[in-house]
Each structure stands twice: as structure tokens, then as C-alpha cells.
């Protein structure tokens, strides 16, 4: 086994040495596509020769510390505290980070520990048409989920405490980056919706019974989406709040959420964020296991589902140009009431809404071929996975990451980072014929990998660095990184999407013991 991987190492080295001179040339050309003049033609179809380099371009060169400060601005790490030197949780901790492309960023992330039940919650939310919906999800979804998982007795206690005005036992302990904010204005509204939800749950549940996690996730997703919809229809006397709930409802967001309790892992997904499990093979390498299905046109199952929900006359229009009604990439999402409400309802709500909305073209615009709403649902697919000791980490990320890196590459980069590159297998010549030149090439490649790893304490940052700065050979190219990060605001979205990453690291010893 070891010999085989040594051989692999050496062969890699040989390849590298062979393509080395060519690599330089390719790097130069690949950097050129980000020329602002040909931005409209899309990143891949650049016509370089016709243009002169614009002056502005050269001023955007970033130094490595500048690159780092951009990449690390949103990074966050959490380690589950140990008790008596032992970590009893199956989660050792997590790293998360975000890199904006939109201004402001439309992705959101959340992480929290359930206090009234066991387990931890992680979620990434990819907003579109604004960040309002994603923001609401990041604040509310975990509460809905946590409440849905509560025992009947705990719910009763919660309700009686609120009723009597006693202090309420906290439900969640949040792990937030300072940039992850909660909207203060809407909290009262959100709370009352949540209370209504648990009151219903209380009525439905029976004492001594705990809900099934998968069902709880399903219920929480659907309930939150319907609350968002309802709040927008009802409106609020406070005009700011009224405007806010409408913004939430008219924007949209996909969500991918994981719940880890001991060896039980549940992933609930709505839309095109993705959860991928990193599995360490006996030889030390990493392989990927995707735990969620993307809800978009690439998923044939999903296309079939959407078509089946509407009359055959709409078969050609409901999915057009790989988009829902020719407009929306994800086939499932929160909010987006334009795809859910009847035209009549939309008009009524908009007319009664605050003035700010009257000028909002996006809100007024009615999708074409809009005949049999709803076209969109927030119902998640929930998948249960029993963790094994070889399951080392879970990567939750918005589509911004998955568009740029293959999941196998993602898992390799994270795996090597978490296991520490100093534990990278030592090079050994063994009995093979290796020249000094080949060895030098191999060692330089290894060194480059090490140095880029040492720069990042945070695995999510490390992953984003690769996603943005990788060249054709999987090595981080500073020049490319610098150019990608220094794109002007209006251009950034052309070359990359918002990227949000949460990497949850599991504790194989705890998982193995369960």
C-alpha cells in the first residue's frame, strides 16, 4: 500500500516536471480572461489580442497580506470545548467562511448548538434577488427546527414560561461571526410566529413522545416558508416592518442544513447548496459522499417532479433554458412568493404594501407562462446518515464553491488541511529510478502546498483560497488570486458567485465508540 502511494508521488513528480515549462505559459493566458473589456463576453470566451491592457487593471494588484485580509475577513472557527480532557461530542468543531461576490453578499450561514435537545445545527443559505430571505432563514430556521425537535414536556414548559412571563430556557447557543447579525426590529414578529408554531406542535404532540428528527426538519422548513408567506400577506402596522416582511417574501433563498447528534447526521436540503461528506480511506486519501441532491435543472428527478406538478400544456415552459419558468435556477426555495402566489394575490399584496415597493420593478414583474401556481416549494429532501469513524468531516457550501471545485477536489483539499500537511506522506525513493530534477519538481510542488496551508488556520478559508486561486494544476496561484479578489464590485459577480463554506469536523473516537 505504502509503496503504491510512493510510486504515485513519484509519478506525479515526473508529470509535473514534464509539464512545468508549459504550465508557466498557461498561467499567463488564464489570467488574461479577467480583462474588464471582455467581461460581457463571459469568462471563457476571451479575445485578448484585440484589446490593450487598461491602466486601471494594473493598479488592482494585491500583495499577499492584502489577499489574506480579504480572505480572512469573515472566517470563523469553533472548537467544541472538552471536559476532563475528553471531547464527548461527535463534532470536534467547525470552520466557516464567506467570500462575497455580490455587494452586499447574498449568502448567509448559521451554526448553533441545541440546548434543550442534543446535537448541533449547521446551515448555509444562498439568497437571490436580495439577501432578505437568506437573512431571515439564518435567524429563524434553526429556531423552527429546534422547536420542532422538542419533547412535549419541554414545549409545555416553554409555553408556560412565556405565558407566565418567566425567563425562558434558551433553546439555541449560536456560534456567530461578528458579521453575522440578527435584525432586531423583526424579532418580536418572528417570536410570535415561532410561538404560534410551538403552540400547534404542543397540541399535536403527546406526552412522553419525541418527534422524529427527519420529520421535524421537514415540518420546520415548510412551516417557516409558510410563515414568511403569511407574514407578507398580513403585513404589519409598522411600515418599515411591513416593507421588511415583503422583501423577505419577494426575495428567495435556498438552504442546506445539517443536524449532528452523536453518530446521527441528518441533512435537509432545499435548492442547490450541497452537503458533502469527506471519508478517509484506509490508505489515507479522501473520497467524497454527497448527502444532498441539488434541486435544479441538472437533476432529472427534479425536472420530472416539477413537470408532473403542472398540466402537460406547461411541460415546455415550466422548465425553460434550464430554469424554472425560464427564470429561476433553483427548483426549490424559500420566499420567492412570485412563484408561489397567484397573480391576483401578488397584486393585492403589492398594492397594499408600503410605497417603497411601488417602484420595485422586480416585485411587479410577473413571470411569463404563469398559469398554475405554486411553481416553487420549500419542502426539503431530508437524508439520514449514520456516521462511521472514517467519516471525517462534512462540507456544507453554497453553489459558488461547487461551481468552481469538483467535490473530490474539495474533499482532498480539506482532508489534507485537517490532517495536517506535515503528516503528508514522506517522500521515499524506494527502488524507483528518480532523477534529481524530478525530485526537485516534486519537492517544490509539495512545498507550495505546505506554504499555502500554513497560511490558513481555517480550513474553510483554505478551501476558498483554492476555489478562487487555483490554476489548472490545482495549485494556488497568487497572481490569479490577486486578480480575482481585486475585481471591481460590478464585475465580481461575472466571474464568481458568493461562496459560503462550513466545514464540520467529526471526532472519530467518539463516533467509533457509539
Amino acid at each position: 500500500m505504502a509503496a503504491a502511494s510512493q510510486l504515485f508521488q513519484v509519478i506525479r513528480g515526473m508529470e509535473l516536471a514534464r509539464i512545468w515549462p508549459r504550465a508557466r505559459f498557461l498561467c499567463q493566458t488564464c489570467c488574461q480572461f479577467s480583462h474588464p473589456c471582455d467581461a460581457n463576453s463571459g469568462p471563457k470566451q476571451h479575445t485578448w489580442r484585440g484589446y490593450r491592457t487598461s491602466q486601471a487593471w494594473h493598479t488592482y494588484y494585491l500583495t499577499p497580506p492584502q489577499v489574506n485580509s480579504i480572505l480572512k475577513a469573515n472566517e470563523y472557527s469553533f472548537k467544541v470545548p472538552e471536559f476532563d480532557g475528553k471531547n464527548l461530542s461527535s463534532v470536534m468543531g467547525f470552520d466557516s467562511n464567506q467570500l462575497p461576490a455580490n455587494a452586499p453578499i447574498e449568502d448567509r450561514r448559521s451554526a448553533a448548538t441545541c440546548l434543550q435537545t442534543r446535537g448541533m445545527l449547521f446551515g448555509v443559505f444562498d439568497g437571490h434577488a436580495g439577501c432578505a430571505c437568506a437573512q431571515a432563514l439564518s435567524e429563524r430556521l434553526f429556531y423552527y427546527t429546534a422547536v420542532a425537535m422538542l419533547q412535549h414536556e419541554t414545549l409545555a414548559e416553554l409555553e408556560s414560561a412565556v405565558e407566565a412571563g418567566r425567563p425562558v430556557q434558551p433553546v439555541l447557543q449560536w456560534h456567530k461571526h461578528p458579521n453575522d447579525y440578527f435584525s432586531r426590529e423583526a424579532s418580536r414578529l418572528y417570536f410570535s410566529s415561532l410561538r404560534t408554531y410551538w403552540q400547534e406542535l404542543l397540541d399535536l404532540s403527546t406526552p412522553g413522545e419525541g418527534p422524529d428528527t427527519a420529520e421535524a426538519l421537514l415540518s420546520a422548513f415548510k412551516r417557516l416558508d409558510s410563515d414568511i408567506s403569511l407574514e407578507a400577506q398580513v403585513g404589519d402596522p409598522n411600515s418599515f416592518l411591513h416593507y421588511w416582511v415583503l422583501r423577505v417574501a419577494f426575495s428567495g433563498a435556498t438552504a442546506c442544513m445539517a443536524h449532528v447528534d452523536g453518530a446521527e447526521l441528518h441533512v435537509a436540503n432545499t435548492g442547490d447548496c450541497r452537503a458533502v461528506l469527506g471519508i478517509q480511506e484506509p490508505d489515507g486519501s479522501f473520497s467524497a459522499l454527497t448527502l444532498s441532491n441539488d434541486h435544479n435543472a441538472q437533476n432529472e428527478e427534479e425536472v420530472r417532479r416539477v413537470r408532473a406538478e403542472h398540466p402537460p400544456s406547461e411541460a415546455r415552459t415550466v422548465v425553460k433554458q434550464e430554469r424554472l419558468l425560464g427564470l429561476l435556477m433553483p427548483f426549490r426555495a424559500f420566499g420567492d412568493v412570485k412563484f408561489k402566489w397567484s397573480i391576483d394575490l401578488q397584486r393585492r399584496v403589492l398594492e397594499s404594501g408600503p410605497d417603497q415597493l411601488h417602484n420595485n420593478e422586480h416585485a411587479k414583474f410577473v413571470p411569463p407562462n404563469f398559469h398554475t401556481p405554486p411553481y416553487l416549494t420549500a419542502e426539503p429532501e431530508v437524508r439520514r446518515h449514520r456516521l462511521r469513524p472514517q467519516d471525517r468531516f462534512l462540507v456544507l457550501a453554497s453553489d459558488g464553491l461547487w461551481e468552481t471545485l469538483h467535490r473530490q477536489e474539495v474533499v482532498r483539499i480539506v482532508g489534507e488541511h485537517l490532517t495536517g500537511v506535515h503528516q503528508q506522506q514522506p517522500v521515499s525513493v524506494g527502488g524507483y529510478r528518480v532523477t534529481l530534477g524530478q525530485m526537485q519538481g516534486l519537492l517544490q510542488e509539495r512545498k507550495a502546498r505546505i506554504s499555502s496551508t500554513f497560511e490558513d488556520q481555517n480550513a474553510a478559508t483554505h478551501l476558498i483560497r483554492h476555489a478562487v486561486g487555483s490554476n489548472e494544476f490545482g495549485a494556488v496561484d497568487h497572481e490569479r488570486l490577486s486578480k480575482m479578489l481585486s475585481l471591481p464590485e460590478e464585475l465580481a459577480r461575472m466571474y464568481r458567485d458568493d461562496i459560503t463554506v462550513i466545514i464540520v469536523q467529526f471526532n472519530p473516537h467518539v463516533i467509533g465508540a457509539q
Partner: protein, 893 residues
């Protein structure tokens, strides 16, 4: 054929056959363990019955590597009998087996070059002497310079080697190509060619030395470990091995990597400060144009690598910036078993190699060898008798030059054991330069990580170690540090070099690594000026301070025997005196204060702490009434230099300090500020007026603060050792350890006035001095003032520069400094007339005074005026004193 010469009792005839078979077949067999094939079995193997150990011997040597066998060989050659050499594994199975096999004279100090030169000659004749093939090839070597500073250091090395009579040529890059086919010269500025350097197979040399030693009766026992050394009353009495005890008079610790642990394991712990580091080198398969075995060794120090030919391919290793220390916890494994290769660690050296020899790119790898080497805290080996235990000798810590040094070091140690001292001055290598304070594992670990890269680093004048610092400090350290002190270290003690005034660019100062005028020039100039015109304070607490007391006159008797000067002086007098050896050479140069009738205060140079202690102890009768105490730590010493020093002191003590009331070379206990019992001495170690204050440490801060605040109006300021050095050198003061050594007599350095032949005691060295006085001296300490030397533009002298008289080499400088008073460089050094025939020529004042002198700095000769006495004009503004020639000496480098 070879069998007939075997006389060793330890070897049975059956084993002999095995030995010869091995010797024939494994010359250069390819082996996965390293470049030299497997280790030969000399005496015992697992399947044979080991030869019983003798119950007693004269000397037991522990360690069968190249160093141990060399010591055995040289002892046997000097006529020693009953020598037993014990090896825990097999001969040469430690570092020797993996050593790269280069013998080079390119070493930082002359004594090391001398040892390498001797080793070289010894190894060359070894094959003929023993019949054992040693693979000795005189290939020569090339030291490459990638920049001008490196080229300068190579030129300095060249002029040093010429003094030793070793051939060397400074050559142009073009000539390098002619000597070595693979070297890329595009980034070179020059090179040094050492045609005498050689390559050999270390295990074969080791084997040959063992064979030769065995012929001379040395008993060699393999697979025998020394558990500990037995001692009684400070003398070695025997060793305890895993196969039983052996009684012996002498023990030699040549245990290499394991020398530290072996030292610690004895009853009275012996400090052998060394620490291992992993050392990597690469072996390749033959180059497509196989490299000729005569191809010179290449040392590309700027690339941190060396390269030699090996079986048509190359062997290349280096001394990386980030070494990997090992065995800190002291893992006592039997042999150095397969250490892990670490290619990632080797990457910078591989890059350097391919840059230097690009055509090796296509050469195939044979192996990357990891071979632990032991390093010492100052990059020099450890040699000599340990301070605490008589008969316990050490030779270890070769700093990865084991093969180069083993021959010469073995010879010197054998001489040391035979005659009491080697034939050359080996103080730089003497284990007594270290004490227990350098024995901390953490200190050693950190320091060797600096030492190993330093081997190939450019060493500019006055470089200091950066690691293992702030171990011993004066109580004033923080005060001085905040006032801009820049520090150097001596024997673990922090001493201020100079004080950077506020507002100076510090970054530039710290990067002041140059062979030319350093950037502290003006700073030190200002400090010197202040010493001359006002008053300066120098913290000189690092000095070694002993107190010798007795109930009767035993203390006086002892000192009268040890010291050349007369110590029977009135109480309160200070006497500058040498402690001489039988040859009349300086073992120590100190100032002795008679505190009372029977108690003396002895002030010696900082690095004399261990050496002087053991020297005194050696001659001290075991008399409970006589007591020697090391009080170095009890006193802080402040040196107040300058004409206004007496004003400051008299203001602080309400006592007149004028020469009428306080003549020079006197000591009084008095009060300074609130502090009472301060020993005030009228001497400054520089020839300038002023006082030394020896202050019990708890008063140090108070006295310093008082002196500084009262001194304000006299223009007082802090000064450092560089100012002191400039002052003492322009006054022609020699100091021990640099100018003076155990081969220098007082007569040779014009200090006859400090030798009292008629004091009524037959002091040590008296006979030798009497004889020398009779015959006349053959070398003389002189002061050379450089002329036609531009301090701004020309290279600065350091030490070790050759001195020429009428174009003929006559000596070497020992120290130098810029004299701010003369506005010239002053070098101190020894000259001796070229020997005509057998008898050395006696030196005459004419020889000194008539002659055109030149000092060679990196190949460039500068005319100089030789002087036997300092310039009297310097003293003109000073008040004439009773003893104008207050000559003292020992402020260290």
C-alpha cells in the same frame, strides 16, 4: 601477509581471517545504509565468544569511532601501554560510518586548520603503514564565493593558511571550470582552491587506525558499553562496563553522540556540552559522464552545500538554515539506526545543488542519507581534561568535521595526556572553556540549531551568537538595555558592546555585518572620547572573581607559588600578575587584591571561570584551613573610566579620591552613596585614570543610579566593551585568551617587570623564565600601527592577519582595534625572525625597530610601524603616576 603483524591480545586468530575477508570485499560495496558499505567486524561477533576484558589498564578509551581510534593510535605511538578501547557496538558504527569523507583545511580557526592538515598527512600514509585500503584520494577542494563578502572571507582564510604553510590559491571563476567539469560559474565572483584537501573512506580510515593501534598493543573490545566511570577523591580509578569493571588511571570519553550522557552518568557529573542534529546528504547513481574520482570537492557555502565525487556520481550534503536537533531526551540507542530520510527538508539543498551543477538534473538518486552529527555551543570541538576529575579526558563534539579533525585532535590529546599539555595552543578547543552552565539540554538544543547553519554562514568580524542568550546578566541589565545597550555574550554573560543613542536607526545597526568600517564607529568614538575627557561607566560584572582565604599564611604561600609577581604586599595593594605554567606560559592573567593579611581577591577574565578554578585547585593543598570561593555572582563590577571619575566618587563618598589620597593600584572598602562596603580599586584595565567598583549585587542598582545622577554634571555616559577594547589596544595592553596563551611568557610580551625572580619563592615557571632570560626571546609581542590605511574605504583588520617584515612572513596579529586617539588602526601580534637552520634566532630591539612591516588583510598588504611601547604622547595630557604602566588585560574579546 598482513596477519603476521597482528600482536593484539584481544584478537583471536579465527577472527583475524574474518577481518581480512571483510577488509578485502567490502571496500565500496553498495549498501543501503550509506556510502561506505557495512561496518567491519574487528574483534567480536555474536556467534563467537567475546574475549574477556582485562581487569586493569592504564587508560580506557570509550568509543570506537574515528576519534577514539585516533587517540588510541597516538597514545600507542607515544609509547603508552595497557590501552583498552571499548566500543558499545562495532567499530565505526556511529557517525563515522556515515560521514561524508571529506578532509579539508578550510576551517574557521587556525588550530583547526592545523589539525586538519595533520590528519590529511596522517591518512595519506596510513594505507602504506597498515596495508588497509583507505580510499584516500588527494582531490583538492574548491570553496566558491557567490558574493564579494564571501570572497573576502576566503581571501582571509587564504592568508591564514599561508601562515601555516598550507598551499592555496585564490582563483577566478573561469579557472574553476578547468578544475571541475560540472560547476556553473555564472553567479560566482571567485573561489579558493585548496589543492591539498582530500577524500577518504571514514570507516576504512577508522579501521586502519584500529589495525595500527592494535599492532602497537592496544586492546580493542567491541560490544562493550561503559556504564559509568569510577572516581575517588577527584581521580579516575576505573570504569564499570556491562562486562565487568576495569581499573584504570585515565579515561578518555570519545563517545561522540553519547559523550554528553556518558559524562552525566558518572558519579561526579562531567559536563560535555554537545547536542546532536540530523545531517542529510544525497548519493546519486553515476552521472552519464561518470565523474572522475579525482574531481575536487566543491564547497558552495553561500548555497550551504558541499559536493564530492562518489562512484561516478556525487555525494552532496549541506548545513541548512533550519536544522533538526535530535536526541534531546537522550535516547541511548546502540548504533545510529536507520534514521528517516526527509526529502522535504533537503529541498533547499537540492535546489542549491542543481543551481550549482545544473547537469545533475538528469542524474538518478541513489539514496538520501540521514546521519546525526554532534555540535557544540561554539562550533569548536571539546578537548582535554575535565575540570573536576583528574584523569578524565574528553575528545568529542566534532561539529561534522570528524574526519578532518580526528587525526590532529587525537595527536594533541595524546600529547596532552603524555606531557601535560599539547605542543600547540589548544585553548580554543579546551573543554574548560565551558562549565556546567552550558550543560542545559534546552540551551544546547537551541544553540546547536544556530551553530549548524553557522558552519557555512559568512562570519564577519565581531559576530555573536543569537541563541541561548540572557542566561547570566548583571542586575543592571534592564537599566542598560533601556538606554540602548547592544549586547554580546561571553561565557553565558551578557555584556554591553556599545550604547545606541536615542533616535539612531536601529535596524541599520543590527545589520552591520561588514568587513569594512562598521556603523557603530561613531557611537564607539563618542564613548571613547567621553572616557578620555569626562567619565564613562562600563558594567564589567562578567569577570571571574575568586576569594582565597586561610587562617594562617597558606593563602599567601599558594599564591606566591602560582603567581610570577610578588604578592607579599601591604594590605590594600593590587598586583597584576600572571599565573604561569612550568614552561613559563600564561595559564591565567589576573589582578590580585590583598584584602587582609590572609585573604585575597582574584579577578580573572570571564572565560577563566572554569580553567582558573581548576588550575588553582590543582596546586592547592587539601588543607581545611585554606578556602577558595567563587564569588563571581556576588559582585557587580562598575568601571568608572575618565579624568572626572574621581570627582564623581568623591562627591558620593565625601572622601578625596585624588592620586595623593588614593594612589593607583590600591583597593579600599568604602561607602558610595548609601551603600557601604563597596570595594573601590584604582585601576580601569585600560590605562586610563579611573576606578573599578566591586559592589555587592543588592547595592548595584543604587550605586549605579547614584553614580549616574551625580555624574550628570561631569558629562557621564554609559560605554561598552568596544570602547574599552579600543582604549586598551592603543595602550598596548595584551589580554589572556586572545593575545596571551599558555605558550606565551611574560618576557615575550615585555612584562618582565611583573616577574619577581627574587621574591624568595620558586614560583611555577621560574626555571623556564630564567632560562629564557638567559637565552633571549625568539618572539616578541609588538604593536603595529597601520599606515596608509583608510578606515573609511579599506578592509579592517580583525585578528589572525599575517605580519610581514621586509617582505618575509614573521608573525600573526592577535587582536586589533581602531584607535580614536591616533586615528589609525592598531594591531597587536607576535613576531619572530625566520629561523635560520635549527636554532631559532633571538630577537633584538633592532629587529623590531629596523624593518619595514606590513600587515596582510585578505591578501592586501598595508605598511605598518612596529612598536615595542605605546605612544608616550598619548599620556601627555595625563598626570604622571607612580606606576604609569598599569597594564592589565583581560576584558575579553
Amino acid at each position: 601477509m598482513r596477519g603476521c603483524v597482528w600482536s593484539s591480545r584481544a584478537l583471536s586468530p579465527g577472527l583475524l581471517l574474518r577481518l581480512l575477508r571483510d577488509a578485502r570485499c567490502c571496500g565500496h560495496r553498495l549498501d543501503r545504509q550509506g556510502p561506505w558499505g557495512s561496518v567491519r567486524l574487528l574483534a567480536t561477533a555474536q556467534d563467537t565468544q567475546p574475549v574477556p576484558l582485562p581487569s586493569q589498564a592504564r587508560v580506557v578509551i570509550c568509543g570506537g569511532g574515528i576519534v577514539g581510534t585516533s587517540v588510541a593510535y597516538h597514545l600507542a605511538k607515544l609509547g603508552w601501554t595497557e590501552i583498552v578501547l571499548l566500543e558499545q557496538g562495532r567499530l565505526g558504527a556511529g557517525t563515522t560510518r556515515l560521514c561524508a569523507g571529506i578532509i579539508s583545511v578550510a576551517k574557521p580557526i587556525s588550530i583547526e586548520s592545523q589539525m586538519a592538515d595533520y590528519s590529511n598527512a596522517l591518512y595519506e600514509r596510513l594505507e602504506e603503514e597498515t596495508g588497509v585500503k583507505t580510499a584516500f584520494v588527494r582531490t583538492g577542494s574548491l570553496c566558491l564565493a557567490q558574493n564579494q563578502d564571501r570572497f573576502l572571507s576566503l581571501k582571509r582564510l587564504a592568508s591564514r593558511l599561508r601562515v601555516l604553510g598550507i598551499a592555496c590559491n585564490v582563483i577566478k571563476p573561469k579557472e574553476v571550470v578547468k578544475l571541475h567539469p560540472l560547476v556553473n560559474i555564472h553567479d560566482l565572483v571567485g573561489a579558493l582552491h585548496l589543492p591539498g584537501d582530500a577524500m577518504a573512506s571514514p570507516p576504512d580510515i577508522n579501521h586502519a587506525l584500529a589495525v595500527a593501534a592494535a599492532r602497537h598493543g592496544v586492546q580493542i573490545h567491541e560490544r562493550t558499553s561503559v556504564n559509568h566511570v569510577l572516581m575517588e577523591k577527584g581521580h579516575v580509578t576505573g570504569v564499570e562496563t556491562d562486562r565487568g569493571p576495569i581499573e584504570c588511571e585515565y579515561f578518555v570519553n570519545c563517545a561522540g553522540q553519547w559523550a554528553y550522557e556518558l559524562g552525566q552518568s558518572s558519579e561526579v557529573k562531567v559536563s560535555v556540552p554537545l547536542h546532536g542534529c540530523e545531517h542529510f546528504y544525497l548519493l546519486t547513481k553515476p552521472h552519464h559522464q561518470p565523474l572522475h574520482p579525482n574531481t575536487p570537492v566543491v564547497m558552495d557555502m553561500d548555497g550551504r552545500i558541499y559536493v564530492r565525487a562518489w562512484q561516478g556520481g556525487i555525494l552532496s550534503g549541506g548545513f541548512e538554515k533550519n536544522p533538526k536537533p535530535i536526541f534531546t531526551e537522550g535516547r541511548n540507542q546502540l548504533e545510529i539506526q536507520n534514521m528517516q530520510e526527509d526529502w522535504d527538508h533537503f529541498e533547499p539543498m537540492l535546489n542549491a545543488l542543481l543551481r550549482r551543477m545544473p547537469s545533475l538534473d538528469s542524474c538518478e538518486i541513489h539514496q538520501l542519507v540521514n546521519c546525526p552529527e554532534s555540535f557544540t555551543p561554539d562550533m569548536r570541538c571539546l578537548m582535554g581534561e575535565t575540570p573536576g576529575v583528574h584523569g578524565y579526558f574528553v575528545l568529542a563534539g566534532m561539529n561534522s568535521s570528524g574526519l578532518s579533525f580526528a587525526g590532529g585532535a587525537g595527536k594533541y590529546l595524546a600529547e596532552w595526556m603524555t606531557y601535560g599539555y599539547p605542543t600547540a595552543n589548544v585553548w580554543p578547543l579546551d573543554i574548560k572553556r565551558f562549565g556546567n552552565l552550558q550543560s542545559s539540554r534546552t540551551f544546547l538544543r537551541h544553540r546547536v540549531m544556530e551553530v549548524m547553519p553557522l558552519l557555512y554562514e559568512l562570519k564577519v568580524p565581531r559576530w555573536d551568537f543569537q541563541t541561548g542568550r540572557q542566561l547570566r546578566t548583571s542586575p543592571l541589565y534592564d537599566r542598560l538595555d533601556t538606554q540602548g545597550a547592544r549586547w554580546m555574550e561571553k561565557h553565558g554573560f551578557e555584556r554591553a558592546k556599545y550604547f545606541v543613542p536615542a533616535g539612531k536607526d536601529l535596524l541599520a545597526l543590527d545589520q552591520s555585518k561588514t568587513f569594512y568600517k562598521p556603523d557603530w564607529f561613531d557611537i564607539v568614538g563618542a564613548e571613547v572620547k567621553c572616557c578620555k575627557e569626562a567619565v564613562c561607566v562600563i558594567d564589567m560584572s562578567s569577570f571571574t572573581k575568586f576569594e582565597l582565604t586561610s587562617t594562617g599564611d597558606q593563602a599567601l604561600e599558594l599564591l606566591q607559588r602560582l603567581c610570577a609577581n610578588d604578592l607579599d604586599v601591604p594590605v590594600g595593594h593590587i598586583v597584576h600578575t600572571g599565573m604561569l605554567n612550568e614552561r613559563g606560559g600564561y595559564e591565567n592573567d589576573c589582578s590580585v587584591v590583598r584584602l587582609s593579611k590572609n585573604s585575597f581577591f582574584i579577578i580573572s577574565p570571564t572565560d577563566q571561570q572554569v580553567h582558573c578554578w581548576s588550575w588553582i585547585k590543582r596546586y592547592m593543598p587539601s588543607d581545611p584551613q585554606l578556602h577558595l570561593e567563587d564569588v563571581s555572582w556576588k559582585y557587580t563590577a562598575l568601571n568608572l573610566i575618565g579624568p572626572r571619575a574621581m570627582d564623581v566618587l568623591s562627591e558620593l563618598s565625601y572622601v578625596s579620591m585624588t592620586p595623593e589620597h588614593f594612589p593607583t593600584l590600591f583597593c579600599k572598602e568604602m561607602s558610595v552613596g548609601y551603600a557601604n562596603g563597596i570595594r573601590v580599586m584604582s585601576m580601569t584595565h585600560t590605562g586610563e585614570p579611573g576606578f573599578m567598583l566591586y559592589i555587592p549585587i543588592e547595592y548595584a542598582l543604587h550605586v549605579y543610579n547614584e553614580v549616574m545622577s551625580v555624574g550628570q554634571k561631569y558629562g557621564i555616559r554609559n560605554a561598552g566593551y568596544y570602547a574599552l577594547r579600543s582604549l586598551r589596544i592603543e595602550k598596548f595592553f595584551a589580554f589572556w585568551g586572545q593575545d596571551l596563551d599558555s605558550f606565551t611568557t611574560p618576557l615575550e610580551c615585555g612584562r618582565e617587570f611583573r616577574v619577581k625572580f627574587d621574591k624568595g619563592t620558586d614560583f611555577l615557571g621560574r626555571q623556564a623564565l630564567m632560562q629564557q632570560r638567559q637565552e633571549g626571546i625568539t618572539r616578541r609581542f609588538v604593536m603595529l600601527v597601520l599606515e596608509d590605511h583608510d578606515a573609511e574605504l579599506d578592509l579592517w583588520p580583525w585578528w589572525g592577519e599575517p605580519i610581514y617584515r621586509n617582505g618575509q612572513l614573521v608573525g600573526v596579529t592577535t587582536s586589533s582595534a581602531y584607535s580614536y586617539t591616533l586615528e589609525r588602526h592598531v594591531c597587536l601580534g607576535f613576531v619572530s625572525p625566520a629561523t635560520a637552520g635549527q636554532n631559532p634566532t633571538v630577537i633584538t630591539p633592532d629587529f623590531i625597530n629596523r624593518g619595514d612591516y606590513e600587515v596582510d588583510i585578505a591578501g592586501q598588504r598595508y605598511p605598518a610601524k612596529a612598536k615595542l611601547y605605546p605612544f608616550s604622547s598619548l599620556f601627555a595630557q595625563q598626570r604622571r603616576r607612580k606606576d604609569d604602566m598599569e597594564l592589565s588585560n583581560f576584558q575579553g574579546k
